[in-house]
Amino acid sequence: MIDLVWLIPVFPLIGFAINGLIGKAFSEKAIGWIGSLSVGASFVIAVSIFLELLGMDPGSRSVQKVVYTWIISGDLNVPIGFLVDPLSTVMMLVVSGVGFVIHVYSIGYMHGELGFRRFFAYLNLFVFNMLILVSSNNFLLLFVGWEGVGLCSYLLIGYYYEKKSAADAGKKAFVVNRVGDFGFLIGMFLIFVTFGTFDFTQVFSEAHAKLAQGGLLVTLITLLLFVGATGKSAQIPLYTWLPDAMEGPTPVSALIHAATMVTAGVYMVARCSILFALAPISLSVVAVIGAATAFYAATIGITQFDIKRVLAYSTISQLGYMFLACGVGAFATGIFHLMTHAFFKALLFLAAGSVMHAMSGELDMRKMGALKSHLPHTHWTYLFGTLAIAGILPFAGFFSKDEILFFAFERGAGFWIVGAVAALMTSFYMFRSVFMTFYGESRVEPEAAHHLHESPPIMTVPLMILAVLSLVGGFVGIPILKGWHVFGDFLAPVFAPAEAVLKGEHAAAHHSVALELTLMGVSLAIAIAGFFYARWMYLTEPGAAQRMVERFPGLHKLVYNKYWVDEIYDILFVNSIVRFSQFLWKMFDDAVIDGIVNGTARIARGWGAVLRRLQSGVVKDYALSILVGVVFVIGYLVLR
């Protein structure tokens, strides 16, 4: 079965081909189901591979499958090849599974849209690229998927291309990602010149030998790779594209900008765990950036009113958690959170989408409220998602996030505090969104009000599936009890080498159950605190929020405007470069170079104009010039 791994990406590709090329012939339903089932098929295969993998003994759970050699040039040899190991399998499962659900959801959500076919084609293309990304066995192929998903996100964000904001957002996403990719590219070059190959297993197995631990080279490599990660996974400083990305259709936000693509960075860092392990500096950079992002994004999330933007910032912040996990060396945990996050964040987005659906596209929570009664399913599913992300026992988010906080604490209390505060804010703004949307008194505009309706089952069923997942998803990683952390044990072999290195680094973490339990309690308390604070502010005491704002107007303004980072970037990079280019074009190209070119021509003609004047037309002047010649010639001959 593992030999058929290549089928996993191929199915969506086929779906893309069918819908893209001959889809015009089909009905909307057909197109939708072709798209969905192609992904479903991949999921089936992924599952079977997963099972097969379980059958093998943990040590040997890493299989490579090369389809053909892509590029051969000199000593460069890049195959189209797949690597099946626990990590990639998990990713494939998540991508294809969540992907499938979201596809199905989209059938309902996108119903009647003009570019229905285009949408599904792009979506399949995305899944294809994403699967390539997670299943490739070498950096270059990973980079292919990496760029590919970027492209699809560009296309899908710009799906409503007639909206300027949408098109801009798409472009912004692509360009910012390119900036990250630039770092990634350079990192790959360094890897190539060091190892002479892009192959994962080869690189990682030789890493210890070829790279001095904590050496400059490995630090450089990992940092560059991390730059790529920050681009893809919307971390400081390259996160700005993600909020704008919400211009895309909601399923896209769910699939690409919550569940899968944005986590590619995390996956890549985890994939390169050994390299990062060898570079402590980079690790701490990752951790710091992760923590900072988690905190920073959360603060912004508090103040937003656009429901999708709230989710977007929460996504950024959650991704911060994942990087924090990787940064503190708990790669498995990072992936764990990646998975759970995929479940509940997708759920949240889809639910939000369902709300929009009902509200005929309204996103502003200030125009919602008391939707509970109209959208029962949406409501409880959204609530599940919120509970999960807020980290309420026993929802999935609790386990993963708590684990992250635990490892952060082990690494340093500072990380833990930041994480905890972020968690508090998270639960606050998530419940805030719940209350503003589903509870309180309705602020819905009348004309929107009278056709409020629950979404069709094709949309709600996926919601329920995801809701269940975000409820039970955490149980695969129950801490403390030995052997109950199935997930971690499954991934363990992948991260073993990194673990080894790290263990060698700082003394073995003393697993004191007491500490762990306390931390659990604290984080649970935090979550609940957030819940109550939100409840107080947005239900029992409406207007409290307003008072808050009035108390710290400056702070609020700052946060509400996302710290004006976009504006600053515009001034710093965009405008300045455009200006400078203008200058180059007008001044240098046209003035200087062409000036010289045309100048030469003009000088030549000028001389011509001068010389022709010698031709006075008077015969005696001609005789004179002959005479001059005579003088010179004779002079030369006589005086020589």
Partner: protein
């Protein structure tokens, strides 16, 4: 004796040449031109080139100069102000350059001295007159150029004819 003769002729030639160049009336120019020709003929005689001297008198001083005279009459170029570009720099530059050439060539001319025998040395074949020798040369060795020149003259005649016959429309074309 010889020397005196030479200098007299030389002076006449030079002066009349200067007059040709500097006198204002074309008629006077012609007259002095003739004078120059004649005295040149004298110099030729001194150099034992009788035939050349004769031709000089007949063809030049005779035919050519008369032709000049005719034309001047024809166009009745009466007395005009001294027609040199006194004002223009052309005058000076031209004169200076010409003199420059003279001053440069002058010294060179001395270069031949060692090979130059005294004037008055006997001609190559004394028993023959200069004319005879010339004739012989002309009709044996130099027969070809002699024939070519006939073509040249023919061309000149034809040309003179058609040019003179050119009816003047006065209007310039093109």
């Amino acid at each position: 004796m010889e020397a005196v003769l030479f200098y007299v002729l030389a002076v006449i030639v030079t002066v009349s040449a200067l007059c040709v160049v500097f006198l204002r009336r074309p008629v006077h120019n012609v007259v002095f031109m003739i004078l120059a020709m004649v005295s040149l003929a004298g110099l030729f005689l001194m150099l034992r080139a009788e035939f050349v001297a004769m031709v000089q008198l007949v063809v030049y001083a005779g035919a050519v100069m008369v032709l000049f005279l005719f034309v001047i009459m024809l166009l009745n170029l009466g007395p005009t102000i001294f027609q040199a570009d006194a004002k223009s720099a052309r005058w000076w530059i031209g004169a200076v350059l010409a003199l420059g050439v003279l001053t440069m060539i002058g010294p060179v001319l001395t270069a031949v001295i060692p090979r130059a025998p005294q004037i008055g040395a006997p001609a190559a074949v004394p028993e023959m007159s200069n004319t005879e020798i010339l004739a012989r040369e002309l009709f044996t060795t130099y027969l070809l150029p002699f024939e070519i020149v006939s073509i040249l003259l023919l061309a000149a005649i034809v040309g003179a004819v058609i040019l003179a016959r050119k009816r003047s429309t006065g209007a310039t074309k093109g």
